[in-house]
């Protein structure tokens, strides 16, 4: 193992992280998300707090309870950011002090779709922001014979074609299962531009695959890592999200 990791020096971009009013010397240095060129990829602002949360869940010594808590905090931020891409209309209201406020109102129906099993870990974060949201599920597993992803099960809202879809899967490596999930959604009549794919950690390879296949679909991620290893695991990644969240 040691020789493998030596083969591939893991140097992501580093920078001073912290609020603008602090000078560079006052800010600690950390590895931040790799930049990507595609317009439809939204990376959360690389704030010190987000980096600290990611540090916590990447650490192999983090206990399961903490892993769940800190991933949930990132997921909430992801969902909040994802929701920003939904349409709104102008809406003026009267405030408790009797003045008017020219505000906005949410527009359009949404639903969540989680790619089982790890994607289900993101459902709570979605519910924390959108009470009683409909959530569909898709089970995709690697076919033993062909080594390709295969759809095993799906259960989606009937009227999904009229909804915006927040597709949930925490780790976005090659994007094999996510591509299949998007194809399922498209076959049910959901247009690409109404799908938002939320994930915690993405790889440049996955993003590249996705944007050539689905140029109008938006990806919202907390962090783009350096790349994939020979087994297609994200580097540095955080291990198996589903295992760390559910069973470890």
């Amino acid at each position: 193992m040691a020789s493998e990791s030596e083969k591939r020096p893991q140097v992501g971009p580093t920078q001073c992280v912290g609020p603008n009013y602090r000078s560079e010397s006052q800010k600690p240095i950390a590895t931040v998300s790799t930049e990507v060129e595609h317009d439809n990829v939204v990376i959360l602002p690389q704030t010190p707090q987000l980096i600290a949360l990611l540090t916590m869940i990447r650490d192999k010594n983090t206990e399961r309870a903490d892993f769940i808590f800190y991933s949930n905090r990132i997921i909430r931020l992801l969902v909040e950011e994802g929701l920003n891409h939904l349409p709104v209309v102008e809406h003026t209201v009267t405030t408790p002090i009797g003045s008017t406020y020219a505000g906005l109102m949410f527009q359009g129906k949404i639903c969540g779709v989680s790619i089982m099993r790890a994607g289900e870990a993101m459902e709570q974060g979605l519910r924390d922001c959108c009470r009683s949201v409909r959530i569909g599920k898709i089970l995709i597993q690697r076919d033993e014979e062909t080594a390709k992803p295969k759809l095993f099960y799906d259960k989606l809202p009937e009227d999904i074609a009229n909804r915006w879809v927040l597709l949930l899967d925490p780790m976005f490596a090659t994007g094999g299962s996510a591509i299949m999930a998007v194809e399922v959604l498209k076959s049910r009549g959901v247009p690409e531009e109404r799908i938002l794919f939320l994930n915690l950690i993405a790889s440049p390879e996955g993003i590249r695959n996705f944007s050539s296949k689905f140029p109008r679909l938006r990806v919202v991620t907390a962090f783009v890592d350096q790349g994939l290893d020979e087994k297609n695991y994200i580097i540095p990644g955080l291990g198996d999200f589903g295992d760390r969240f559910y069973t470890m």
Binding site: M1, A2, S5, Q10, T14, V17, G18, P19, N20, Y21, P28, I29, A30, T31, T47, P48, Q49, I51, A52, L54, T55, M56, R58, D59, K60, N61, F69, R73, R76, L77, E80, L83, N84, L86, V88, H91, V93, T94, T95, P96, I97, S99, Y101, G103, L104, M105, F106, D128, C129, R131, D229, Y233, I235, P236, G237, L238, G239, D240, R244
Partner: protein
């Protein structure tokens, strides 16, 4: 070495000049008024002080008894004390140095720890009681008008007088009932120490008094006089405080907001949530849900302003990641009642966050912020960062007071992050002028001087 008194260039560069230009906030407790009440043992000093304080019934008018400042006794003195042979009624028994320190601290607006003296053990107890932020302090004790350093700090000096028989009988009753002494012991002390000292040290204090009050609380005229004097002092302080707050408004229209005032980015979601929160037709259920959701974002944003340090971790696959971790503990202080609306959001982000609370209310008549209650974590001065939470900031009066309280408790300005749902320019301007190193995180900017409606909607009363 700076020798350039005559040289204009050096004078202009003197950092003291810049410091002098800094805007200063003076809380109402910065200039404490002290009223001294002296008189023979049993002359009714403490009864009089208590009557005055309970008549005013304000949390910032307090009594300090000089009994707390008896010197702790060594073994020999202690043995004598138990035999009623120690002279408690001589100025020698009082730790005037400690008393002067306390009074000077309080006068400077700082928190002071008051020793607790045990009459049963003739020792200072380990614990202390603390006094913070009184506007008026009544200092009572047989030698309240004895030490010139103490007298210099006083605004009014009172001497209580009573008939010697009355004093003796009151003293016996008190010492036997409250201080665990015997009647014999009391009488022995009276003739051995109290009476001779009375003539030698207590009576001469009459000459230092502004007022001499015979018959203690039965003397209604004197009571009213003193109470009215204190009321006038309080009014002066309040007027001064309000004028000082007002003077901090200068320049807010022209000057840009401090770079440490961070307004949440107005994303479509944030604006939609703000709209729902502001709409009077939103149900309470929705109001609370969206306020909690927004407060979560506000707390997350506030936490970007605490201090972090570098930390490299290893992932389960054995890869290294150069990340960050908070430098130390982050605690919170809630300004009641408004700040309590953030509690749900705070607990979602830091479930076990240690939380201090302070109750600041605006006086209904004058609008002046008043500090009614204060409970902070003991080691708050060691916390890496303190989030100070309030739902709204209008004039900034309570925010200023709250930050001053934290600063008085040893929290450096650059460790304070003040977070609020909405603020007006005047408030932000005042707060950042006085405390330029604190960070202010704001959900949305609103017109100046908005009434506090968020807490009413959130708590539904």
């Amino acid at each position: 070495m700076n020798t350039g008194i005559g040289s204009p260039t050096i004078v202009a560069d003197n950092p003291a000049d810049t410091i002098a230009k800094r805007v200063h906030y003076s809380p109402p407790w910065a200039d404490l008024s002290i009223i001294g009440i002296a008189g023979s043992s049993g002359s009714g000093k403490s009864t009089l002080s208590q009557a005055i304080v309970s008549k005013l019934n304000l949390p910032w008018v307090v009594i300090l008894s000089m009994d707390s400042y008896y010197k702790p006794l060594n073994a020999e003195a202690s043995r004598k004390a138990f035999l009623n042979e120690y002279d408690f009624d001589s100025p020698e028994a009082i730790d005037f140095d400690a008393l002067v320190d306390t009074l000077r601290d309080l006068k400077a607006g700082k928190r002071a720890e008051i020793p607790v003296y045990s009459f049963e053990k003739h020792q200072r107890m380990k614990e202390t009681t603390s006094i913070y932020s009184p506007h008026v302090l009544v200092l009572e004790g047989i030698f309240a008008l004895y030490d010139p350093r103490v007298m210099d700090l006083m605004d009014m000096r009172i001497y209580c007088e009573a008939d010697a028989d009355t004093c003796l009988s009151r003293r016996i009753l008190r010492d036997v009932k409250d201080r665990g002494r015997t009647v014999d012991g009391c009488i022995k002390q009276w003739f051995g120490f109290v009476k001779p000292n009375y003539e030698k040290y207590v009576v001469p204090q009459r000459n230092h008094a502004d007022i001499i009050v015979p018959r203690g609380i039965e003397n209604r005229v004197a009571m009213t006089m003193v109470t009215q004097y204190i009321e006038r002092k309080l009014l002066e302080k309040s007027t001064h405080h309000r004028a000082a707050l007002k003077s901090l408004e200068v320049g807010y229209e022209t000057e840009p907001l401090s770079e440490r005032a961070i307004i949440l980015k107005e994303t479509p979601q944030l604006k939609s949530m703000t709209t729902l929160i502001q709409d009077i037709d939103t149900s309470s259920e929705d109001f609370i849900f969206y306020f909690d959701r927004l407060s979560c974002l506000l707390i997350e944003q506030a936490l970007n302003n605490v201090h972090f340090k570098e930390l490299t971790v290893e992932t389960p696959a054995g890869n290294k990641y150069c990340g960050l971790t908070p430098k130390g503990e982050v605690s919170a202080v809630i300004i009641l009642r408004g700040g309590a609306t953030f509690e749900a959001g705070l607990r979602r982000v830091i479930p076990d966050c240690r939380t201090g609370r302070l109750l600041i209310q605006s006086n209904i008549r004058t609008g002046e912020p008043e500090l009614h209650y204060l409970k902070l974590p003991k080691d708050i001065n060691n916390h890496d960062s303190v989030l100070l939470l309030d739902a709204q900031m209008a004039s900034g009066g309570s925010a200023l007071m709250a930050v001053q309280v934290l600063v008085d408790h040893g929290v450096p300005q650059d460790r304070i992050v003040f977070a609020t749902f909405s603020a007006g320019r005047v408030g932000v301007h005042r707060l950042t002028k006085v405390f330029p190193e604190i960070t202010v995180v704001i959900g949305n900017m609103v017109s100046d001087f908005q009434d506090r409606w968020v807490e009413k909607r959130y708590f539904r009363c």
